[in-house]
Subunit: 240 residues, 6 copies
Amino acid sequence: MVTVYNTSKEIAEADPPIAILPVGSLEQHGEHLPVATDWLRADDLGQRLAEALGNCYLLPAIAYANSQEHMDMAGTITLRPSTLALVIEDIVLSLRHHGIRRIVIFTTHGGNWVLKPTIRDLNFRYPDLRIIHADGPLLTERESMPREMHAGKGETAAILAIRPELVKGRSPDHAAPFGREWLDYAGMGAVTETGTWGEPSKADPEGYADSMDAMVERRVAYIRETFARLDEMLGPIEED
Amino acid sequence: MVTVYNTSKEIAEADPPIAILPVGSLEQHGEHLPVATDWLRADDLGQRLAEALGNCYLLPAIAYANSQEHMDMAGTITLRPSTLALVIEDIVLSLRHHGIRRIVIFTTHGGNWVLKPTIRDLNFRYPDLRIIHADGPLLTERESMPREMHAGKGETAAILAIRPELVKGRSPDHAAPFGREWLDYAGMGAVTETGTWGEPSKADPEGYADSMDAMVERRVAYIRETFARLDEMLGPIEED
Amino acid sequence: MVTVYNTSKEIAEADPPIAILPVGSLEQHGEHLPVATDWLRADDLGQRLAEALGNCYLLPAIAYANSQEHMDMAGTITLRPSTLALVIEDIVLSLRHHGIRRIVIFTTHGGNWVLKPTIRDLNFRYPDLRIIHADGPLLTERESMPREMHAGKGETAAILAIRPELVKGRSPDHAAPFGREWLDYAGMGAVTETGTWGEPSKADPEGYADSMDAMVERRVAYIRETFARLDEMLGPIEED
Amino acid sequence: MVTVYNTSKEIAEADPPIAILPVGSLEQHGEHLPVATDWLRADDLGQRLAEALGNCYLLPAIAYANSQEHMDMAGTITLRPSTLALVIEDIVLSLRHHGIRRIVIFTTHGGNWVLKPTIRDLNFRYPDLRIIHADGPLLTERESMPREMHAGKGETAAILAIRPELVKGRSPDHAAPFGREWLDYAGMGAVTETGTWGEPSKADPEGYADSMDAMVERRVAYIRETFARLDEMLGPIEED
Amino acid sequence: MVTVYNTSKEIAEADPPIAILPVGSLEQHGEHLPVATDWLRADDLGQRLAEALGNCYLLPAIAYANSQEHMDMAGTITLRPSTLALVIEDIVLSLRHHGIRRIVIFTTHGGNWVLKPTIRDLNFRYPDLRIIHADGPLLTERESMPREMHAGKGETAAILAIRPELVKGRSPDHAAPFGREWLDYAGMGAVTETGTWGEPSKADPEGYADSMDAMVERRVAYIRETFARLDEMLGPIEED
Amino acid sequence: MVTVYNTSKEIAEADPPIAILPVGSLEQHGEHLPVATDWLRADDLGQRLAEALGNCYLLPAIAYANSQEHMDMAGTITLRPSTLALVIEDIVLSLRHHGIRRIVIFTTHGGNWVLKPTIRDLNFRYPDLRIIHADGPLLTERESMPREMHAGKGETAAILAIRPELVKGRSPDHAAPFGREWLDYAGMGAVTETGTWGEPSKADPEGYADSMDAMVERRVAYIRETFARLDEMLGPIEED
């Protein structure tokens, strides 16, 4: 394992095939924890992972990330999500320039939502890169894998109900033995045979209307409640 | 409820206080469902929601969204995530120009990851907007709310273990009666008193090292397995 | 002809060599027509064109386009022109990814000005693409072709008048049997021999000053009238 | 009239209420004219216009503009259209900073397509600016004004044919006494009363199908001919 | 002084009027120093400055910056300059959101060229911010201030030689008692009375041609030598 | 030498291996010089350089550049630095399209800071380009070359003081016989053997603390003085 505390020569000699990029944040953490909490945790976890992984290039945790939800409170610093995406891209392309094409990214701040589309976008645009998250279900843990992911019983029922003439038979039921994050790594064509992940054979178009009624009732309640509660919390909207 | 099938005058007269923006996608859906599946479902659900909500402006479902994971298969069309974020922003600003400041966004395509950071970013940059997702736990469903969200027992234990001198007592335990998505709507300052959501009082720094060992062991297994399996699936990396 | 109402497999089997991308808009259409007018017309025309063309991939009409000139009136939704250009680029690159390199774009909304530079830009940057508009004069309709396009009698007269020492003889007169839009498809080098399209031999430098006087008189009248009328319509300028 | 050949103090004292921004290009102009042709002509015309207009700030003609269609031939230099749009925006905002809010833009290079959407976008986003093109029909020349522009007989016939239930009576016929460019300056709400410009009363839905048949036949011929001719000119498509 | 190792509450209570943003880099540093050298030095200097300054918010040194010149050597990570500019802007706007409007930026990596235009751009666009570099001549050190900065003897001689009719007398000689960096902080209008910084009275148009001859001779030698040496070092240019 | 006053054919026949791109500005120049001063000087110098260089393509000086520091005074026009960077990139890529890969850029306006990172960025991203500044020390002028540039005695002393365990011996002292600008042209790997430019052997870690004390004392004085003087000049900060 090498880090930025090594010399360039040491890193060149180690010739690490993998890089680890921890992503932290600088955001308020209650009245008792430092603003640096996620950044410290990202470095700590990165260090532990790298030691266990063996030969890799452990990068320093990114301190400046995307924490707009904490900006009410002093000390929080946030990038816009689009800026964080560019930072990730530039770091990944630097690693690629040095011939490191396997990259592990993780974050200790759950609100860095933009990492997922960024990782998928980079894997798609640079097919010579293999960028993965650091966590997910193991391939042997089939019970943790989603059974219904795409074009399965729910979606088939929906189109049978909405536009039945568009449904052409049923793709075979398929249980892809992967976690959802594999779609970001390898794409649907690599993890399924027909593009279906789920059980079209069990589609129940009759039940669709009922399940939609229940969903709509619930969502309308949620929307009404949410706007009402936001008005209570934030007061009436002040226009510019 | 008004839609783009109404005239401008009808929309002006209805003066809808809320808009609904469904987001679909155009992506392969197995061998039996149309590429338009998510787009059709988004329009169907939007229609149902709008009818139930009453006076609102239902926009047509966005067809062109972010589906890079399905690009292996014919017919899929994808925007880059950054382009989709700009499309959402422009639509939201058009609604704001017309005085509609409450906006409900939902997607039938789970891979439109970029919606979450975009909604949060727009709520933060335009404080006169209230943009929400269409779904989440109701405020009365306390059992579905996350108990540990931020600065609670896990993070407190971590900093106690890593840099104990940085921990200043304990913020009071706090169970915020909200779903996580409220951070994207209102921010942490509005949904907690001290910025803590969880139970710092239960932090166990002694257990931290053990829990980290377990986590690292698992993640290393995951990383090794994932790269190995990707190589099997995709073959060796071909450099440019 | 295949559409997004087909399955991915059907599209793959049809292997369409051409795609059609209709571009609509969502903008007020008087007191009697729906906001969706251009979008509906784009889909209708797309359908008719695709049926007549034979094997092609007909995409759904883009609903969200560039209509800032209608934003005074309720219901209109506009993208910025730069966002629409990115949407077009991403869709075109998705088609290219699938091996479809002949793309026909048309719009039912005249104000989507940004399509022209975008199509030219993409044709220039991706020489393996052939992107065209859906309409223009047929090659047999020589009478509809512009006679003076570039470096012809008007421009030659101008430079003879302004900086005569820079004029090196006369390129041969040339009537390129193309509509102007061919410059966006193939470029000047492909549609002319010398880069001249017009009649340099007829350049009249003596007449230049007179024609400029007339033009200037007219333009000054136009500018004065326009600012005066805008002030009448919009009132005095209110500074921030 | 002041120019960049004046001192700052002279410009401040003149306090010009209007600026003129000529836009040229650097592109091949046949075998006999210089690459600078459009740039020279833009400066020449700008000079003439400014002298005739009186107190104004004449800027130097932009040399670097958007000429991708001439890039086959030596000497041509092009910006991407998106870069040219940013240049225009920055110059306009500099003038606004100095309190000059009436801006006349013109180009001697017809291919600078991006000027139109840029001018409209800036007029929309900065309501305290009045940016106009330098040319168009005078308001007294009613015969040059378009009679059918928006929501008139053609569009009404189309929706009556496609989705008749969406048509709500007829907006009054309206002949807006403006050129089309006024939509970029002032918007539809300012130049019409109902958003209609044309004659809905003359809509002929029965004729729609026939006119569409003719249009489709013609367009299909155009598309086929164009792709065939492009293949002849450019050879088969070479994929990357 | 507070840092990200403080809690949000401590930072709020300190209410620091100034923030310090150190900018490092991750780049090779010979065979004996770590890649982190500039980052370590930035944190060290930041700490020392903050302690001496008193109440301020010391941010962690930016690790990921702009080091393209070291990318030949392993371990170097670089952002593009445009990405670094966005990172700086987002951090500055976060501080502004918290009411901290005095910001000191410094870098230990000389190649972060983009900081200067970024600081000036932000000071210009946000007049309520005061962003400065951490170093420069003290105002009492008149001897270190540049005597000729703008519109002084050299530039006056040049225009007298090139276009003498454009020169309107002489602005009074002026020695602005500031370092050049003040132009980035306050602008020319604030640091001079007439916009002149130098000695127009000493302009020598006769000497202009001679001095230009010398300069041109030297520059041509430099250009020839540089291209020749680059070819020697890098070999012939390989086209794509 | 050819210019834009030549025809395309003349430029093609000259087949110039080098292009010269002068960059001026439009900014106030005291009460006696024109706003165009830097632009005129850039064209004048470009002309002289090109004549002396021989076969090259001299481009017209860029008029619109980055002069935010002069925006207090009438007539100044500025691009944002990021826009100027895009303009440079587009011009460079146009030259590259025509096969001209040796490009000399210079500016007569010292505030065009963004040129340096832009030139370096383009040289890095397009290895088939050789873009240089027009001036610097000649390779024979060793006395003008910086002795300490990177990883030399100062930086070595710093890391010996801060984190001595990270220092791995000493790279050999090295005096690279280049000016600093060579890092933007060729990169550190090409101009040094070990990445060191300076004298690590002379590092004095004991002196580090003293030199830092002096530096900090001075910088704190500078920061305090600068903010105080800015407040005097600009008045108290007015928040939005």
